[in-house]
Symmetry: D2
């Protein structure tokens, strides 16, 4: 398949979608991003990498980081974390305090904010330094040692983060945090501020398409764990639009409010697309359109 | 692959799960079913059929019928119905009036009760006789002309059906029913009472695994429509446990409170499993365990 | 106190509020009412009656009828009905299906729609003819034998009443109706259509201010029952604005979407005010303003 | 009226209720209180004070402090605070995060926890020292200068206070706090820890029954403000049981989880009753029973 041709075709067709919607504006670091950018990288399991657009421009990965922290926890204690966080779509806005409260402090899944706080807490407890564990993984897999967080973004997230703080305290009230609230929040905000390019993200997530094998051949996750992580991405990875995304695009994916989406064709490739303007559900408008076209043009889908 | 061996292995391993949980007891026709039954049929795309257990015993298909009515509507007007029903997991109990009310009478998806009422209403309006359309489809695909509803079950459902009636009136209050409330309810209760065996159901749903092609080669749905229906089954097909089911089993499926589950390996086969005792989410305990083993033993999964 | 002077002062001051808001428009019989009407009647315990404005013009009493049906049930079996309906403010829109569902079919109080359906059901069961019982009461107390329902209004309510029907079916699903759903709905819609003037309503409710004594000296309710009914009116009588109404006006009252409000100064008088345009909570804008002025000018308040 | 006789009669009749239910156990300072204590004080507007039982034993006033902080804010800026907190019964558990979130960070009323945080924040901003303002008021009115908080209780509340912290952060996320979250929480926990006896509380709240006049004749609140504060107590003062309390007892009151209840007969007296064991709604079981008897025996009620 001529993937460079496919990407060119996608780039041409999504043109009208680029910039449609609005960039996340709750912190300056996101609000000031030019919405008219677009990039897409396909990292094949055989090592080939195809890109189009601004694929080396870094952006705030935001919630895409949740895939990596979850994998790091699953690799360490795959059973225990599922006592503290569920695997069901939330069916309500991704930051809902209500549901967390009704369900005794057990977040619905690891990709909503409350669930990611629990995963971060667990990773921090397991490793003593969640930040370093995450950095090591994405740097090694992408082969880019200078990947890091954006301190200004992390600081703004923290200053504007009363709702996340409310969620962390609510988790603590249900005894579902092991580390101190402030420490968990600091780690969480730092993860969201991780700054990576499409190319770096597609490579960093390659193990998702390689049944759990890392770039250099060791295992991050078992075959079964990898399938299961992909399943959670499919049912919970794109906020309240996971059903719609599965219907239209039909592959596991995780989006972030920075405008990035990391998608997986199990056994074939990982794809990262980025365009900062978001639709009503918080997913990149042009990004969803590009992935929709990608599965249509390649015929690659899981269904 | 020796599927007869796989089924025998499954039968042996799920033994302790058979009868675990409780049969649906809200109507006599379901409450009186012996919970210790078990059957499983795999209908391969090449025509081979493998069964184990009571695979010719008929049971109440209940919500599995929702797959067929949705397909019949999609085959007729795939666009319009999605204006009236969503494609997102509900995230709350499958008969929630609250969500329907909060979301202006648009049910979350076609597999929760409210959504199925809308689909039934649409099918009845499109065909003038939803019951016949459904009968024709399942009879033709399974090759068994005497399949039909169970009048006693339909009558009990209707008599005990104040909650469904409440839902239908609420839909009507939002102008989301085209036919009279009483007519829609009658059609709906009849569909739930449809009585079929594992073998009949696996065959009747064969087009789900054959990219939309019916048993005799004509199309029921397009390739894209079929993929999309499978996606909706994956994200919404097993009540509030769809995320858990995707995580553990990893294939599209639709369950019913009669204890049946219809599952799909796209491009390979359909599977029907039945065992009447239900777990807390309303899915057959032994049925879920059997499908979990099936994907583990065969390695067939979509992720 | 010169009550005629007080009423004239009120009439002058509320002038700007008359017509502010919107008349209920869900049925033609209410939508066509001229919003610029205003009337107020004070019926003193000593028999004196003071009125201003269109106090003999009849309007649709709507939910004000709920005070009378509740009193008729309390007079017959004061204990039993409280097993089936609560006495707490609902805290959510007056027709909430959610709360009814979360609280196992026990409506929060007798003045929300669900609660009134239960009271109507009980009255109909106790008397065999709820309609006649209600007619008898309001005709005898007001001394006006020709008071009755408005068939056109009742019919429109019924045709547009899918939401109320949903509520009745939900109550039935929780076994909280004794009579058939259709019969309860017919009685309910008829009660809402009752057509009375300010003068008639103030007189008909006189027992609320007379510690339970009817116009001709017999008891409708005991002293304690009357106090308790007044308490329920204060905490639950004005939809979601009961707290605000208690804060501003400070007396027991029951409003209806026809624009009427029946208020009580225990031991002193009943007051009925009417002006059809409603504020956001469904209470008459000018009516609330008039009662606010009335308690300020007279100093009569319960606090 | 022989109030000492009334109190003796009440003491005798409530005997079986004393100790029924459970003491609040979320912090050691409350959990260790002997549930078999009982006290009641009636402070007449004419200066007479009648007590029975352990009326000089101090207990944790907890939420009763909310009446005093609200009065102090109303006395300073009666209008502004109502832009930031409502006056409606909440209709849901007294610490509900859901409602706060659904209603854009505006708490339903000043007596639920979220509302009290806003009132505390306002008082702290207005006075620079909410704690001193509160101390001054209760010390002066009761004539007991050594009244103060219980540091151990305040510290435990703070350590166990993740839910309140979540609420404060949620308020902050809606820009409904003026002071820093930590400062508001410290003030709030201190207020709850205030330790007073029945006699002290009944005297400290005397202005509620005296139309706003303080013990030494100056005004704390205007007549209208006092009536309104009494109205808010009636509709919102006893958690989720305000409707039931109005129905049974029929007077404005504010309860606390320390087992105290402060009640008002406007124009006549204030009453404080205390018994630590709480019923399901968080109100003192014996306390409610005693107030019910008090209004029955004296005939004093507002309805």
């Amino acid at each position: 398949m001529d993937l460079d041709g496919v990407l060119a075709e996608i780039r041409a067709q999504v043109e009208p979608s680029i910039g449609r919607g609005a960039v996340a504006d709750y912190i300056p670091g996101l609000a000031s991003v030019d919405p008219h950018q677009f990039a897409m990288t396909v990292a094949m399991n055989d090592g080939a990498v195809h890109s189009i657009g601004d694929s080396d421009v870094r952006f705030s990965v935001q919630s895409i980081s949740k895939v990596f922290t979850l994998a790091l926890v699953m690799a360490r204690d795959s059973n225990d974390v599922w006592q503290r966080v569920g695997r069901e779509p939330s069916g309500s806005p991704f930051n809902s305090l209500l549901q967390l409260d009704q369900e005794a402090g057990i977040p619905r899944n690891p990709f909503i904010n409350a669930g990611a706080l629990v995963v971060t807490d667990r990773l921090h407890r397991l490793t003593g330094d969640a930040r370093s564990a995450l950095c090591d993984l994405v740097r090694t897999e992408s082969g880019v040692p200078e990947i890091g967080g954006d301190e200004a973004v992390a600081r703004s997230e923290s200053e504007r983060g009363h709702r996340i703080a409310a969620m962390a305290h609510l988790l603590a009230s249900y005894d579902n945090l092991e580390c101190p609230v402030d420490e968990v929040l600091e780690q969480y905000f730092w993860q969201c501020s991780l700054s990576m390019s499409c190319r770096e993200l597609a490579l960093a997530g390659g193990w998702l398409a390689r049944n759990g094998f890392r770039a250099h051949g060791s295992r991050l996750l078992s075959l079964s764990q990898t399938k299961r992580l992909n399943a959670v991405m499919l049912t919970c990875g794109t906020y309240d639009a996971a059903g719609e995304f599965a219907y239209r695009v039909g592959v596991p994916a995780k989006s972030g409010v920075g405008g990035g989406i990391l998608a997986v064709i199990p056994g074939v490739c990982t794809i990262c697309v980025w365009s900062p303007a978001l639709g009503p559900s918080g997913n990149s408008t042009a990004g969803v359109a590009a992935l929709d076209l990608f599965t249509t043009l390649t015929g690659w889908s899981i269904f």
